[in-house]
């Protein structure tokens, strides 16, 4: 998929585990795992907002577009 999720990179920079992030943004571990492993088909703005707030970053820090064409 051309959209790459760099959640693990941001989490490493902020030294935050998946469990901690899950508690802070109130999203289940399984959903965060789906996002982290790139299996998600769509992300709600509300989810993106919660994650950016928790990790103190911009959406562009988490989402990256790579042209594979």
């Amino acid at each position: 998929m051309p959209i790459i999720v760099n959640l693990d990179v941001m989490m490493a920079k902020r030294k935050m585990s998946l469990n901690e992030l899950s508690e802070k943004v109130d999203i289940t571990l399984s959903n965060l795992s789906i996002l982290k492993t790139g299996k998600a088909k769509a992300v709600r703005f509300s989810t993106l907002e919660s994650i950016c707030k928790a990790l103190n970053c911009q959406p562009g820090d988490i989402l990256e577009y790579v042209d594979k064409g």
């Binding site: 959903n31 965060l32 789906i34 998600a40 088909k41 709600r44």
Partner: protein, 178 residues
């Protein structure tokens, strides 16, 4: 589900079971009577619920076999359709109906219903042709006078199967939306 819907759901299941059992008995009786009639031709006078193919048997055993094969084929495919309907009732969950298994079952019912319509049409044309050639075929037409209904059912189920496939796609997307 509300109590009324629950009642209707269970009532439809019971009706489907009765129809399935009846069709299985009919198919079995037809097959048995055909084999019996090969050894005892007198059985051709009353093969199934008054069906009299004795004249056709005397005129041509081969045509008798062809007509009977068509009757048995239609009866067996109808049994298979209702078997799939009963499986559908067992498999479908109202809380999460959009599964690949349900979609596959609806498609199968649609294809089998269509095949009933096609075989019934072929049988109808074949028997009409025999009647034009002065063969006596009794009232075999009653075994396929519902071909229009099965063709309509197959068309409607085909559309429903397409909708279900789209529903599954949308559900998968929703499941993978974070």
């Amino acid at each position: 589900m509300s109590k009324t819907n629950d009642f209707i759901w269970n009532a439809i299941q019971v009706v489907c079971w009765l129809i399935f059992a009846g069709l299985c008995v009919q198919s079995g009786a037809l097959i048995f009577n055909y084999i019996y009639s090969l050894f005892k031709p007198i059985a051709t006078h009353n093969l199934h619920l008054g069906l009299d193919l004795s004249e056709l048997y005397k005129q041509s055993q081969w045509l008798y076999t062809c007509v009977f094969s068509l009757i048995v084929t239609i009866s067996i495919i109808k049994s298979i359709v209702f078997f799939y309907v009963l499986r559908l009732f067992k498999v479908i969950k109202v809380t999460q109906p959009f599964t690949t298994e349900v979609s596959a079952l609806i498609s199968k019912i649609s294809y089998h219903a269509f095949s009933i319509g096609v075989v019934a049409y072929v049988a109808d044309r074949f028997v009409n042709n025999l009647m034009h050639k002065n063969y006596n075929v009794g009232d075999v037409g009653r075994y396929w006078d519902d071909m229009g209904a099965y063709l309509m059912m197959s068309a409607i189920l085909f559309v429903i199967a397409l909708i279900f496939k789209k529903g599954i796609e949308l559900q998968n997307e929703s499941d993978l939306t974070v």
